[in-house]
């Protein structure tokens, strides 16, 4: 097996045993990038020089016996997290030349843990999309089928892990942007509880929904990444000061006697039959693990999409107001101030971003606020309560991550509503602020990955690691690699 194919924990063992070095691992991953990046296009920017220099430094530390949790591990960053001195574009023309003078808190944490940043991953512009097709820098392709989308908005981060162009990566999830691409690319992706991982330095899409999380090749790696990422940040007011457990201790623990909730509202028409069959098999596997499945109800599920598509664009319309051509980023020449504003934003933003800014602006307008934003906020509270009630009856909830496997590039670009539906099972999690994880649960006959999603109560990421790890071990989903 090549080094680039390995997991974090496998490489960590090798480093500890002196069987490999950070430089060897980094070179292996860079070679892999050279070989497949042209086909997949996971990255907006590969940090070749920076990664090699960091690997050299890491090896010096390792030689001194200073081995950290991610020493020598090449990690990709979604190009939405700010990296000091390195361009951070958010997949947008308007920020194509923006170089932040600061690091995101997660970047500081990853660096302190020894991670080597291998590249800035492609994404839907401002994280608005479910297919990574709205990126100013062109689409990313699904490593399992280059004709198909990898999911989005963190499609580059997911594809990079699936194509072995990095060992692990960072994404952000506002309505499913980690879990949906994880499912479509056949890897593990977690969206932590809102407030668990610092948002400082994460370029905002919808502030009350955004959350950073990891993509990994297995559940144990997810626990390792979460140990590094989680924790209170005084630089973020919505960060929550709740103790962070050692997530790795949940790996391999049994789930004997657990109750797994199956929400009846999630098994309706429109689910692809192969996805449905895979999920039914997953439920059976849970029972084999000693858990019991119970039917639960999340009665406000039907309103999730509507609520999300008011709240997220409303916040986005305000968050994206700062991109006005005055201070940084792209500026179009204009006659006067207003003309410059108009031309900058007209040319700097893509169609989907402009669509959402307009929806959000409308929803917040005088005379419409009560009917849209305020009403949506009220329904959001009900959705949150649905989950609180549900978790009185079960330990975790199991759902499909996506209604279908990866669709074809271009298939839904002209039909935003169809595109929005691909997040139907992931959106409620963000509205409720709870954590969720997606991991592989099988393949379609045509060889496309299928994902299963587990959800738990606030700050119960440990439970998610435990149930996902138990499932992963029992299900023994066939280990396949994309045929690139």
């Amino acid at each position: 097996m090549e080094l680039y194919q390995s997991t974090i924990h496998e490489l960590q063992d090798k480093i500890k045993e002196g069987k490999t070095t950070a430089t060897e691992i980094t070179c292996s991953v860079l070679q892999r990038i050279d070989a497949v990046e042209e086909k997949v296009h996971s990255y907006i920017r590969v940090l070749k020089e920076e990664a090699l220099a960091a690997a050299t430094d890491a090896d010096k530390e390792i030689k001194k016996g200073n081995i950290k949790p991610l020493s020598g591990i090449p990690v990709a960053l979604k190009d939405i997290v700010c990296t000091k001195g390195l361009p951070t574009t958010c997949g947008s023309h308007i920020l194509h030349n923006f170089v932040p003078p600061y690091d995101a808190t997660v970047v500081e944490k990853l660096r302190a843990a020894g991670a080597i940043f291998i590249g800035k991953a492609n994404m839907d512009e401002f994280a608005m999309g479910s297919s990574t097709e709205t990126s100013y820098f062109g689409p990313t392709r699904n490593p399992w089928d280059l004709e198909r989308i990898p999911g989005g908005s963190s499609g580059g981060s997911a594809a990079a892990v699936a194509a072995d162009e990095c060992i692990a990566s960072i994404g952000s999830d506002t309505g499913g942007s980690i879990r949906q691409p994880a499912a479509l690319c056949g890897i593990v992706g977690m969206k932590p509880t809102y407030g668990r991982v610092s948002r400082f330095g994460l370029i905002a899409f919808a502030s009350s929904l955004d959350q950073i999380g990891p993509f990994t090749k297995d559940v144990e790696d997810c626990a390792i990444m979460m140990n590094v990422l989680a924790g209170y940040d005084p630089k973020e007011s919505t960060s929550v000061n709740v103790e962070v457990p050692d997530y790795r201790q949940f790996v391999g623990k049994d789930i004997q006697g657990w109750k797994v909730g199956i929400p009846k509202e999630y098994f309706v028409e429109g689910i692809d039959p192969e996805v449905k069959a895979a999920i039914e098999a997953a439920i059976k596997t849970m029972e084999k693990c000693g858990a019991q499945s119970v039917e639960i109800s999340l009665p406000h599920t039907q309103y999730c999409l509507a609520v999300y598509y008011i709240i997220a664009p409303a916040e986005a319309s305000s968050n994206l107001a700062r991109y006005d051509g005055v201070k940084y980023g792209f500026r179009a020449a204009g006659g006067d101030l207003l003309d410059m504003y108009r031309k900058t934003r007209m040319r700097g933003f893509g169609a989907e971003v402009k669509r959402r800014i307009m929806i959000g602006t409308y929803a917040l307008s005088a005379g419409y606020y009560d009917a849209y934003y305020k009403k949506a906020s009220q329904v959001r509270a009900l959705i949150k309560r649905d989950f609180e009630d549900a978790f009185k009856k079960c330990d975790v909830i199991l759902t499909p991550t996506t209604p279908t496997p990866a669709f074809k590039i271009g298939e839904k670009t002209d039909n935003p509503l169809q595109m929005y539906l691909s997040d139907i099972f992931t959106i409620s999690t963000n509205l409720a602020g709870i954590p969720g994880i997606s991991l592989p649960c099988g393949f379609t006959k045509s060889g496309l990955p299928i994902g299963v999603q587990f959800l738990a109560g606030h700050f119960q990421e440990g439970k998610l690691i435990q149930v996902a790890s138990a499932y992963e071990r029992k299900a023994q989903v066939e280990k396949r690699r994309p045929g690139l």
Partner: protein
Amino acid sequence: MEFEAVIGLEVHAQMLTDTKIFCNCSTKFGAAPNSHTCPVCLGMPGVLPVLNKKVVEYAMKMALATNCKINPTCEFARKNYFYPDLPKGYQISQYAYPLAEHGYVELEVNGGKKKIGITRIHMEEDAGKLLHDEHNPVSYVDLNRTGVPLIEIVSEPDIRSSEEAADYLKRLHEILVYLEICDGNMEEGSFRCDANVSIRPKGQKEFGTRTELKNMNSFRNVQRALEYEIKRQQYIVENGGAIVQETRLWDDAQGATNSMRGKEEAHDYRYFPDPDLVPVIVDAAWIDKIRVDMPELPQAKRERFISEYQISAYDAGVLTADKALAQYYEEVVAICAKPKQAANWLMGDVMKFLNEDKKTIRDCPIAAASLAEMINLIDAGTISGKMAKDIAEEMYRSGKKPQEVIAEKGMVQITDEAALAKTISSIIDANPQQLADYRAGKEKLFGYFVGQAMKATQGKANPQIVNDLLKKMLAGK
């Protein structure tokens, strides 16, 4: 027809915190452009605001001082609009749930008291400043002021005249400065005021159409602008016209208000709760903690000065207008126990010296203890009031204590009756004609003899003793 004005004021007061409201940048005025900035106040992508707790505490002080009800929960909201001095494209302010509401300030009007209602007090961040190039069609942005904490104090439309408006503003200003939460500097913009004004026939309940006045940077200008605007509206109404609801700018040089003419179109600010900030919870314990730390407020101090020191309402008003002056006064009185004399000296000679030098009591070279000693020396008859005037001036000039000045100048008063009698006797002997005239009824000549006695003693004679002796000796007793 008789009209009455209906005025409401919106005051923005800059809080005197060391750092900005949502980041750690300095709030100091006058620094090089954009030197007090960071990614947070520059509105860079991905950065987040963290509330400066001091701002909440300062705002709570103002709320308590103006009898407001502090809400147990308040929240920040985004006010969205595009302008180059607003780097995020929105201002973080408060909207649906402000910090405090339903307060009032008491004014003295025609000998009685009148309450001006306070609708709300809320916290917000200031915007930056645009600097326009006079020679080129470009503008520069200075974001030092961006994120400097402000409170906005909105009054009810309870004000009925420009004098009341000025009085209300002075009260607010005084309270803010007393609380040491605002430096009150109107020129630097630490204390700004906008006014809403309309007129209606006296006795009518409904409000007339209002205009909003901006750009008045002194108490006097607020008063002048309101006077002008009330007259302007009255003229329009009396001539059958209608008031247009608009924003008007005060032009100081012109002495008039002018319409902004659509420059500021009706904005839809699309307020919504800021998702980057959590609601501020203010419990009773916190309020109590702030209340305990509250200094004595100007009005209470004035009332106490009148009753405790038996001075006039006018004097109490002058002495409490500046907290430091009041404190100085109380220090003087604590030592000399002569509140009336202390008030006279302070408001008279001392203030005259300070005003001439454009200084405040904070820079007064005369220590409170020295002024008190000087008053004691007058009272003991060691120096005369006239001598004290010279001594005070010398104390102010040199910063010396009164005894030092007296010793240096040999200015001790002559109170030795025998010695003075001898002097007076020789004066009477030297002026036989004046004596004869005086005795013949020309009593005005008494002053002549006093003058001669003072001249002979270089002004050091105790005037009371001189008076008594002269009366006796001129009468031939």
